[in-house]
């Protein structure tokens, strides 16, 4: 699973927010994407999942079974290819319970057609089992009810993405709003899946200690371009990174 962007640019009015010659995600297992404020990280994530239309450039996904151009796809089609993104801000379905929200995400779209109205029962045992496994792994206040706090909503958002079994998961600031121990169990779960070869992950984070701890490879984005890439230790000791973060 390799996601490749080439000559990718996004400009608002005349202001260029992203300008990337070439970058590849998903080649190394668990990758990090870091950069100072306004570096264009969120815009890049939006571009990769086709929520934002690029000004120019191409995005392609090598699924192993052939290369797919993402540019002409709509955002739901990108998701169906197996490229899923968690949300930085709290997003959710307010009238779905935790379980229903996960069931929704786990249900393949072809099973949600008109005929499903007259189906005997709603969800297969397989889906129920997957949902139960995820729900019980985390301390939700009411496992049969709704996500209560901001933290639970954020956690649910990540679990919803995981249950779709993505091939490449983009995590946009997963720690923001989550308690420390939950963050760690989420990241451990993610690392397990990566090690098992089920998926590849890109984490966008402000919390650099987390990046240093979990990532195999780190991309450094500043002023819309990838300025440095490498192993966490290389990035940590890189002069450009320190300079761009602190103005040294």
């Amino acid at each position: 699973m390799r996601l490749e962007a080439q000559n990718l640019t996004k400009a608002y009015h005349a202001h260029e927010v992203v300008n990337i010659e070439k970058v590849t995600f998903g080649a190394k297992g668990l990758e990090g994407l870091i950069g100072p404020n306004g570096a264009g990280k969120s815009t890049l994530m939006g571009l990769l999942t086709r929520r934002i239309a690029p000004t120019s450039g191409t995005i392609s996904l090598d699924t192993g079974a052939g290369v797919k151009q993402l540019n002409p796809l709509k955002s739901y089609e990108v998701a169906r290819v197996g490229l899923i993104k968690t949300n930085q801000r709290i997003q959710g379905f307010d009238s779905l319970t935790i379980r229903d929200s996960l069931r929704l995400a786990a249900t393949p779209p072809k099973d949600e057609g008109l005929t499903s109205i007259f189906a005997g029962h709603r969800d297969t045992d397989e889906i129920e089992e997957k949902v139960a496994r995820l729900v019980e792994a985390f301390p939700f206040t009411d496992r049969n009810g709704y996500a209560m706090s901001g933290g639970e909503k954020k956690l649910l958002d990540i679990l919803r993405c995981l249950i779709t079994e993505p091939k490449l998961l983009l995590m946009d600031e997963p720690t923001a709003g989550l308690p420390d121990d939950i963050t760690r169990s989420v990241m451990n779960m993610v690392r397990e899946k990566v090690l098992a070869g089920d998926m590849r992950v890109v984490v966008v984070e402000h919390d650099l200690p987390l990046i240093w701890e979990y990532c195999d490879y780190v991309h450094f984005l500043s002023e819309g371009s990838i300025l440095f890439e490498g192993e966490p230790d290389e990035v940590k000791s890189n002069r450009v990174v320190a300079e761009k973060y602190m103005g040294v």
Partner: protein
Amino acid sequence: MDYLIFSFSLMLVYIGLAQLLHIQFGLAGIPNFGVVGFWGIGLYGTGVLYVVFGVALLPAILIASALSAIIGYLLALLVLQRSGQAILAATLALSAIIATLVVSEKDLTGGVQGLGTIKFPFGDMANRNFVFMIFILVVVLALVWVSARLRDSRMGRQLVAIRDNEELAASLGKNTAATKRWVFAITCGGMGILGGMSAPLHQFLVPYQLAPSITFAVWIALVLGGKGHNLGAIVGTFVTFGLFDILIETYAPVPAEQAILLPNFKLFCYGVLLVVIIMFRPIGLLGTDGPKVRQPAAKGAET
């Protein structure tokens, strides 16, 4: 007696419309302010096919409602992915277009002179109006049943998700635009069927019947009963139409000189009810209901 049957039949039609609006707005979040337009396509479509072209009533209703569904689909293609306010304005505009066309296309619709007469089906059976009321009742009950099934189904869950957060649903791989389009088209077709069935009730069609107040009456009934509850449409219609149009109009001893003001008093009360409900109980009288499906067995019960 005939008048009561007429009133009840009409009330059933309103319940059906509110039920369809519950699917459109309550489940899928599409604010259709053109209810009377789609109902009107069914009503006048049936009338024109029956009177001008001599088509039998039931095929006429089906053709007219298919037309209503097609127009619903086309409108959905144009505006359904726009903001709620744009959808609202576009559907309202469509209903105004239908009403205007009915007046201007005199050759087909009879214009302001009206179009008639549309007779009840079932040959010369006695109590045809009563039998027809039962027929409408069956259709409306079927609608309520389908709507309950929808609420409990995978598709209904997807609709709710789209209403809550369409972008998020799309990011999970749901083709939200297509789903909304089909649901809208089919429910607009349903409004067309109810319109077609109203044709023999009214017998004689005049453009005045396409006034936007029908749209608002249906909306008020739904919001009052509970837009997110499967029985909200029924309860809301009983409270509004049942109370004012049937009970008060039939039985209340109103002096003749005040009788002309009665419909205005009714609409005034509708307005007050609507304001009070949205201010103090926005979920409606019945509130919201979730899917009625089996919850997973408690852990330990299986092992």
